[in-house]
Subunit: 454 residues, 2 copies
């Protein structure tokens, strides 16, 4: 391992050059005009994985190719599946970039380009680590599988299908993903929990056409009025969700977790300034971090109905719509919440309204026990390289592909970000800190060894 | 008067021809491409009023001309101001017209064309009546002023300005307007009350940019959630408006009015089928007609915020908006309601939201005492011609120009529609029943005589 680490430290220049080569490829999955570049990035990843010494396949799909690699010669050792994606978000608005998004530029120790942190830079940490092991030791301490997709930014359709039908081929004990952030500069983190999600759309339909609100107002239920009353009934003024039984299955935060979050020194004032609100607010009795990481929420994501132009218009629109998502926490069932939501909304629907509820696919929250073997291995690996104890955090968002990994592979997910919170993911001037890129490669190499330990 | 009536009955063919000539002019005020036709219609009306024997002026304005006429030789008699408009709504969608909108076509006793009932046909009833009087008797029983505008369909800007600065010139005891409907076929009506209005827009602003609802959800007030809770607080489940003091100044319906409305035999089932709802609903304790005519309402006219496309999106939008109008009834003050609205919404605004309320111009409700001289005269005139007692009705909508008439001229408004509820106003296949056109002319001639009576 020491020799692997020394080798990695000697290759910094090449690692940066290779990352820049990948970042130069404009692999925007959302825009078909970039399709040749998406293909080029897939080929780049294929070549990299193959040169590392893995059996490698470029799997054609209906959409963008998957790159699958494997090295399965560590008898009796666990199997680690490394996941990443080679596609990137669209770069616009272009005028806000200091240097062009697909011309990587190093400034102040950071490399700036679209995809620098999400996910090319972070993905490359693991590919370089695997390559270093095989180069130096001609072996890996664990069995390694790699799956890299090219459409994470547009819904992961191909890998989702592939997982459903090729679970055996991808079977693993651990899934390692780096597509997120450390706690802060020089403070690595392991994300041991992510929230689930269940999205809905509520359509309140009333009159068969838009009506004049003067002539008809007062005699028919206005769908927009009905919608706001149904939507307002979901959460009370204390931030508590009002669906009957909503909190029944919620796994409460442990005292240890609450102490740990409180000790992180989360900068509330800085956070408030970042989001630009005059006051933070959420479910009473919980801190901001607890609310974001470990408490369920109900957010209206879209409202529409009637006249949206300038000035007033005296109309009763024939329909009004709301899009709503609930974030779920461990042990809450999307199906049970969907049933409770439907029942609640129907019970709060005023007379004279035809109610339609659209149910979208949800996903459960995930929580890895903090004393699991994977978490313990990751803790040791990160502490060895960063020389500081990593913090255990959760993530407020949902990562749908994780649900598929867990569902089809039954593996433990290790989410270890090497990005930073100010990396401008999905925004202009996306960057990755090169110091963390290199520490990420070293950590990944170390993690493979730690995961091999009994 | 008998001779005037006989003369009118002898001129049916000419009256229809003249109406068709005016309907052929595509005087669409909303579309500048029709500007020459708007001008042509103004000239047509000018010629008609002048040939009738009134002193006539075509008043140029910043927008479309006003036609003003007067005959002021009935000493000691009251003065009647006749109002109408020569502009029409756009005719589209053209493909839904059985015959082209500006090629008047008579079918089943109706004349079909854009503007047939709104307002060219109804306006012409009064111009023909004045002309008949002066032709037959060389005098009018009352002093008559006429003001016809060319932009009623787009906000009446010119006449509003003119009224504010020329109140003396237009001073009158009665204002006669026909721009609405009878109660039904062969059942004339006098509209003695119209509701007022006060419109608002509420903007709830939260984060300084759209946020990911997974990462940030639970820690900041979502403007869309805040908006629905503020909006839902306006009306309770019994249809009662919750602004403190909202009903304090409301003039209650009299027992006589309630009996009268109940006796009209309003077809609830037909109305429900017309608007296409599975159930009618409104303020508890009132009938549908009472709710539409004489009770205040609160309708959300527009909702917007966040994602409105297909499928879900995990966003907390930085702002959400609602447009709201209250319909007011006699004695409610738009200013007091605006103050109560502002106070109520502010009190219901959750933490962390920057609230902006836009106040648009409102108008008071109008109510003419049913025993007023004008109403009594109109009753006699309509009964003489239609041979049935006219019904006294109210109107749920607001007619902003009426507020200006009352404010600047202090006159009593007589709103006597000669249209029918199924005239397709503002819709394809607009029509006017020719029988009512002629009865309207006779009624108008009779009304002038009845208004002269002490």
């Amino acid at each position: 391992m020491d020799q692997v680490d020394q080798y990695i430290c000697s290759q910094r220049e090449r690692y940066e050059r290779e990352l820049a080569d990948l970042l130069r490829i404009a692999s925007v999955s959302a825009d078909s005009a970039f399709a040749p570049h998406v293909r080029e990035a897939a080929q780049f990843v294929f070549d990299k994985v193959q040169k590392s010494g893995l059996e490698t396949e470029l799997v054609e799909t209906d959409t963008n190719p998957l790159i699958i690699g494997q090295w399965l010669h560590a008898d009796d050792a666990p199997t680690v599946l490394i996941y990443g994606h080679y596609d990137v978000q669209p770069p616009d608005p272009l005028e806000l970039w200091t240097t062009p998004p697909f011309e990587p530029s190093v400034r102040d120790g950071n490399i700036y380009a679209r995809g620098a942190t999400d996910d090319k830079g972070q993905m490359m940490t693991h590919l370089q680590a695997v390559e270093a092991w095989l180069h130096v030791e001609e072996r890996l301490p664990v069995n390694v599988k790699v799956i890299i997709e090219g459409e994470e930014e547009v819904g992961s359709a191909a890998i989702t299908d592939y997982l459903a039908t090729n679970a055996n081929r991808l079977a693993a004990d651990y899934i390692v993903v780096s597509d997120n952030s450390m706690w802060g500069p020089d403070r690595p983190a392991i994300t041991y929990g992510i929230r689930g999600i269940i999205p809905f759309e509520v359509i309140a339909r009333g009159p068969n056409k838009d009506l004049h609100s003067g002539v008809f107002g007062g005699s028919v239920t206005n769908p927009a009025n009905a919608l706001v009353s149904m939507m307002a009934s979901l959460v009370n003024s204390q931030g508590r969700i009002q669906l009957p039984g909503f909190y029944d299955d919620v796994v409460p935060l442990t005292d240890e977790e609450r102490r740990a979050y409180a000790s992180l020194g989360f900068d509330e004032a800085g956070y408030q300034a970042q989001v630009g609100v005059k006051e933070l607010f959420g479910e009473s009795g919980y801190s901001t971090l607890e609310r974001r990481w470990a408490r369920p929420t109900c957010d209206i994501n879209g409202l529409s109905g009637g006249y949206q132009g300038e000035g007033p218009k005296t109309v009763i629109a024939s329909e009004a719509r709301a899009k709503v998502t609930f974030r779920l926490v461990p042990n809450q069932s999307p199906e049970k919440i969907a049933a409770a939501f439907e029942k609640h909304v129907k019970a709060h629907c005023p007379p004279g309204i035809n109610l339609e509820i659209l149910f979208y696919e949800g996903g459960e929250a995930l929580l890895v026990p903090s004393d699991s073997r994977g978490i313990q291995a990751a803790r040791r690996a990160l502490e060895a390289i960063f020389e500081v104890e990593p913090v255990l955090i959760r993530e407020g968002g949902s990562i749908p592909i994780f649900n598929d990994f867990v569902k089809h592979l039954g593996a433990e997910c290790l989410l270890i970000g090497f990005g930073l919170p100010d990396d401008n993911t999905h925004s202009p001037n996306e960057k990755m800190c090169l110091k963390d890129y290199h520490r990420g490669i070293r950590s990944s190499a170390r993690l493979l060894e730690e995961l091999a330990k009994p």
